[in-house]
Amino acid sequence: MSKLKKIPLMLLGAGGAFFVVTFTIYFFNLDMKLTSKLEPFFLKHYDTMPRKQYV
């Protein structure tokens, strides 16, 4: 098969892989599961910041 003919197949493969990966992340809520694990680190960081509290 010539290189030119392979391009649509490669595009289809890349699109398919993109779909499989992103749909898995989407459906199993992996994005939110990851960000919920990050939250405590951020909160710790904010707690240690110097603040100029003022009324």
Binding site: Y26, F27, M32, S36, H45, Q53
Partner: protein, 528 residues
């Protein structure tokens, strides 16, 4: 009312309790059948692209590390999932398109805040043309300014209001800070947390001036006082107090309100160097009228047996469209049209979004419904359709939109009217007619047999009317379900404590069984 049974079987998930596992986020996303799951997935991809673009900007990353409230935006997708639970077809699309735009709008307002913020990007030229505008304002006083000359920055929206949609615990830290400085615990958590944010120095600092309003209540005026003091004394940002009369339906207060509006505009001109432009104003007045017409058309559809645009997304969209936007963003005109077209299609096809509709309900009172997926839950768990809510019953009057010498004078009255009739305060202030009497009129217009009364325990605005509601609902044979909460402080009323009040009414008074028993009690105390 007669029960309406859905002749179509819902695609995908039938019992929604399976999505909750007691964690911060859901176990997985909902299976809605192939077509609707794929649609939901494409909207998820769209939001990933919006947030991805946001985080590619190094100033936004800097802001993320500077401001505590930014951590709440880790839960944006979770917030979206909260408001689409059980939805299919047109309602799913309407909720996504409306809510996605609200998210995009909030994202843009964070970008604007960071751009002008003295601690982040400090673009002084940009900041010079920014006016810090109270989130509780209709922003009508900005309608005649071109954005590049005077831009409204509603910094409380991303900091407090929107953050709370994505994380129920978003303001707890700030409430604690305010209380450490002596503000009592029975103050409404909304102004209290805003005061706490200011005390904790966690607001972005930008703009040449600020406009605050008295449009909610004494609680919010208390918070504004602290915020204005810091703005003026520490950051040198002069603050104007735009004061809307309480009795906003009385003729004799309108002149005062219009005069105050003129003064606010002059103040903005003085501090930003911007010039009021009547062409810009009347174009935006047309947009406001267009949005009013479309909202009324949506309400007409909701008055039929087949409501399409409902729930927290309806109310949030109206909030954003009237208050944050107030005619200034032309995209809302296009979006209103698209949403109405979808709703009309759903109505024609008699789309229903639960197995059966048992009650038609108006949601009234000061609401926490952005923090909890209550309105969608009522529909899925009990077949109670939330037809509309108090916040969506805002202005219905058309404002002057042709540029004539008389209308230029009328415009000040119209802007004042919009400001006085700010979402929520148009009902919580102005006497019992607007709060109690008109509720029964809406019940009639929308064919409602039930009212779900949010009772915000720290809001003094409604408490005095409790007895009148009880008495009059009984006279009219309307089921009145009181649901107490403490707005954005979930430590006082947890989500399940809120739902339990509704559950006990449905079981003991209505003697009904839930449509979906798996969600009657949900383990979401720890969820975002």
């Amino acid at each position: 009312m007669d029960i309406i049974k859905n002749p179509r079987k819902r695609d995908g998930e039938q019992q929604l309790g399976v999505l909750y596992d007691g964690g911060k986020v859901r176990r997985r996303r909902e299976w809605r059948g192939f077509k609707d799951t794929f649609f939901d997935y494409t909207r998820w991809l769209y939001l990933v692209s919006v947030l991805g673009k946001f985080i590619m900007n190094p100033y936004n990353v800097k802001g993320f590390f500077r401001y505590r409230w930014m951590a709440n935006y880790l839960g944006v997708m979770h917030g979206m999932d909260k408001f689409t639970i059980g939805l299919r077809d047109e309602a799913l699309r309407i909720t996504h398109y409306s809510f996605n735009y609200v998210i995009a709008d909030v994202t843009q307002s964070i970008v604007n805040c960071f751009r002008g913020d003295r601690r982040i990007r400090n673009d002084e030229e940009f900041s010079k043309h920014c006016v810090l505008t109270d989130e509780n304002a209709m922003t009508a006083q900005m309608m005649g300014f071109k954005a590049e000359e005077a831009r409204a920055i509603l910094r409380e929206v991303p900091t407090m209001f929107a953050a709370n949609i994505f994380n129920q615990n978003s303001v707890i830290h700030y409430i604690d800070v305010a209380q450490q400085y002596g503000i009592p615990g029975d103050v409404c958590p909304m102004p209290e947390s805003e005061a706490g944010i200011s005390i904790d120095d966690d607001f972005c600092v930008l703009g040449s001036c600020a406009v605050q309003v008295n449009t909610t209540c004494d609680g919010s005026m208390m918070g504004n006082g602290l915020i204005a003091k810091r703005l003026e004394r520490e950051y040198g940002i002069p603050t104007f107090q735009l004061t809307a009369p309480l009795r906003h339906r009385e003729e004799d207060v309108q002149k005062y309100a219009a005069e105050d509006m003129k003064k606010a505009i002059a103040f903005i001109e003085e501090h930003t160097g911007a010039k009021w432009d009547w062409d810009t104003y009347f174009q935006r007045a047309k947009n406001v009228n267009d949005c009013t017409r479309k909202r009324m058309a949506q309400l007409d559809i909701n008055a039929t047996p087949y409501p399409q645009f409902f729930g927290a997304a309806f109310s949030l969209y109206n909030d954003t469209n009237y208050m944050g936007n107030c005619g200034r963003d032309p995209y809302f005109v296009k979006l209103d049209k698209k949403l109405l077209k979808l709703a009309e299609k759903g109505y024609r096809e008699k789309r229903m979004y639960a197995r059966e509709y048992r009650h038609r309900c108006i949601v009234w009172g000061v609401q926490p419904q952005y923090i909890i997926d209550m309105l969608y839950w009522m529909l899925q768990c009990w077949g109670v359709v939330p037809l509309t809510d108090m916040l969506s019953m805002v202005n219905t009057r058309m404002i002057a939109e042709e540029d004539t010498p008389e209308n230029r004078e009328q415009a000040y009255y119209d802007m004042a009217w919009l400001n006085e009739n700010m979402i929520m305060r148009n009902r919580t202030h102005g006497g019992y007619e607007v709060l109690v009497d008109e509720l029964w009129e809406f019940c009639e217009q929308m064919n409602a047999d039930m009212v779900m009364m949010w009772e915000h325990m720290s809001c003094k605005a409604l408490d005095g009317m409790h007895g009148q509601f009880e008495e009059q609902a009984r006279e009219r044979g309307i089921h009145l379900v009181w649901v107490c909460h403490d707005l954005c402080d979930p430590r006082v009323y947890s989500r399940q404590a809120i739902r339990d009040q509704f559950n006990s009414y449905m079981r003991t008074v209505m003697r009904e069984e839930p449509l979906d028993p798996t969600i009657e009690v949900l383990p979401d105390e720890n969820a975002w």
